[in-house]
């Protein structure tokens, strides 16, 4: 039953397609893509009514900008061979995903697939990776909520993903400096094992460093450069829609199965292990967060359940395929508890990391990355390993923090002195109506035909005609707040 073309391909060295694995990667890519709208709601529910659209737009616009940039030079910079001594791939080699697509001779696009060993099409792998780049950028937006200039955000998303994310993805997953390749840092430190790769390789199954530590640090740096929201620490800034936060958490949990189990690169036993660990750590982290919250504040909250779940998802990301289900329960419970406590730190530091990107993604990412030194079933201290893996994990986490922190600072400073980081006072005051010319809800208007939308929506329809003139008389600037750090 061997088809002659298949034989030709075999002779040409083109690996066979595995439709099961390929299907799983396509599904996983779709699941991860859904995480960004999920995140948008997780974040959007947490801000005040006045700026929910802006919050959603920061995630959605990242789907726009990064989605385009990735196919242009992003994939190439991440996975197309080493350049600059293992720091980054060459942006030109696979520009526009050149040479990955199906051809007559290679109808499933496997010849140049980075995941060809599993019979996964090159474009399926690229699709999967594309969604990671998007959500990493979107994650940052939580830290800058309510005050970052929208056009600057668009520019930032393009620059940051190119200068910070793609290189880091290359270093960790593309065979670069922080991988286990023969010319990696680990090979230098721990020596080379049989086959030439590092004897001890740093572990990051699905992006604890590349995604979470990376975005967490960037968020903190931007929050620092932006300064605090007007009224921070004085005015109440409570979530305007807790069900949206929980909806977002639900979608994130769902999508994260693609994120983690998809990182197995196929639909075998490793994916199943990553699936189970993802779920279990999340469950345990939710309980851990609720418990700590109960002790510290007397109540277990819905925001806490959602946040705990996300903390667990973050923490199990680096080790989803490397620990046992019991290990994942422990990592989850730890991460949930620690993050619930860590979100209190920012107020001591005077930092306005609005939606706790630091407390959840940076801290959760570090917990999960370092925990592998203990819980990795192959090399962890609790499974008879020595301290080498722990050291390797500390190094990769530290390197990601320094790399992302330093470069984000430079990018932020340049943007601050060129385009400006912070929106105008009017925009910060009024939120969506000033920034995007729309308001999120109109529950009052439209109760009867001809209702002029009594509250907050009383409007006259005009022929659309060019620019929206700002019709508002200048608002008082009576708040004595800080402007920026």
């Amino acid at each position: 039953m061997v088809v002659p073309e298949a034989l030709d391909r075999w002779r040409a060295g083109i690996p066979p397609l595995d439709a099961g694995n390929n299907a799983w990667m396509l599904v996983s890519a779709a699941l991860v893509l859904l995480m960004t709208p999920g995140l948008a709601f997780f974040y959007g529910g947490m801000v005040r009514r006045k700026s929910v659209i802006n919050m959603l737009m920061m995630s959605f616009s990242a789907m726009g900008t990064v989605g385009v940039v990735y196919v242009l030079w992003g994939y190439s910079m991440s996975f197309a061979g080493n350049a600059l001594g293992g720091l980054v791939g060459n942006p030109v080699t696979a520009f526009g995903l050149a040479r990955l697509g199906p051809t007559a001779a290679d109808p499933n696009g496997l010849a140049n697939s980075a995941d060809a060993g599993s019979g996964v099409s090159g474009l399926a792998f690229a699709a999967f990776q594309l969604t990671f780049a998007i959500i990493t950028v979107a994650l940052i937006s939580g830290a800058v909520a309510d005050r970052m200039k929208f056009t600057t955000w668009l520019v930032f998303s393009v620059v940051w993903v190119s200068v910070v994310y793609f290189p880091l993805a290359h270093m960790v997953w593309g065979g670069g400096l922080l991988s286990g390749a023969s010319d990696s840092l680990s090979a230098l430190i721990f020596g080379r094992g049989p086959g030439g790769s590092a004897a001890i390789a740093p572990m990051d199954f699905a992006g604890g460093t590349v995604v979470h530590i990376d975005a967490g640090v960037a968020g903190i740096v931007l929050a620092f450069l932006l300064g605090r929201r007007k009224g921070h620490g004085r005015d109440p800034m409570r979530p305007h829609n807790v069900p949206f936060v929980m909806l977002g958490a639900g979608l994130l949990w769902f999508g994260w199965f693609g994120f983690n189990a998809g990182s197995a690169g196929g639909a075998g036993g490793l994916a199943a292990l990553a699936w189970i660990n993802t779920s279990t750590a999340t469950s345990a982290a939710m309980l851990g967060w609720l418990a700590v919250e109960r002790v510290l504040h007397g109540k277990a909250t819905g925001i806490g359940a959602a946040s705990g779940a996300v903390a667990g998802l973050v923490a199990i990301t680096p080790g989803a395929g490397f620990v046992s289900p019991i290990g994942s329960v422990a990592i989850g419970a730890l991460a949930g508890g620690i993050c619930a406590w860590a979100i209190g730190l920012k107020s001591r530091l005077g930092l306005d990391d609005a939606l706790d990107v630091g407390g959840v993604h940076l801290v959760g990412g570090i917990v999960g990355t370092v925990a592998l030194g203990f819980f990795s079933t192959s090399t962890g201290l609790f499974y008879g390993g020595n301290a080498d893996q722990l050291m390797a994990q500390a190094i990769i986490a530290g390197a990601a923090i320094l790399f992302s922190g330093g470069l984000t600072l430079v990018i932020g400073l340049i943007l601050r002195s060129t385009l400006g980081l912070r929106m105008s006072e009017d925009e910060e005051y009024d939120g969506d109506t000033a920034i995007h010319g729309e308001s999120a809800y109109d529950f009052e208007g439209g109760t009867g035909i001809g209702s002029p939308g009594v509250l907050r929506g009383a409007t006259h329809h005009q022929e659309a005609s060019g620019h929206v003139a700002s019709a508002r008389a200048p608002e008082p600037a009576s708040e004595p707040e800080e402007a920026s750090a």
Binding site: E438, H460, Q462, A464, A471, A473, P476, S478
Partner: protein, 112 residues
Amino acid sequence: MNLITAVIKPFKLEDVRTALLAHGVTGMTVCEASGYGRQRGHTEVYRGAEYTVELLPKVRIDLLVADEDTGDVIDAIVRAAWTGKIGDGKVWAVPVATAVRVRTGERDAAAI
């Protein structure tokens, strides 16, 4: 006794409440409201259609005060609600015939 009604900018409510507390006023009733006046609204765009929002969010405060305190309380509100920009709002007072506290049935001065 008078019923003082103040229509102010929403973000000034907290300042007004604090100022009133300092004047010994410990009760009030607050409503959301929308104001139309000299203050201009803003424009919103939906799928290419532009809307001018003419009614702006305000907060309405109603509070009963004894005759002798009325002037002071009005002044306190005006000071606390002031920003100097168009749209700061209005305060007015209406004479009240009688007032009762539901819980105790106390009347007039004792009711507030």
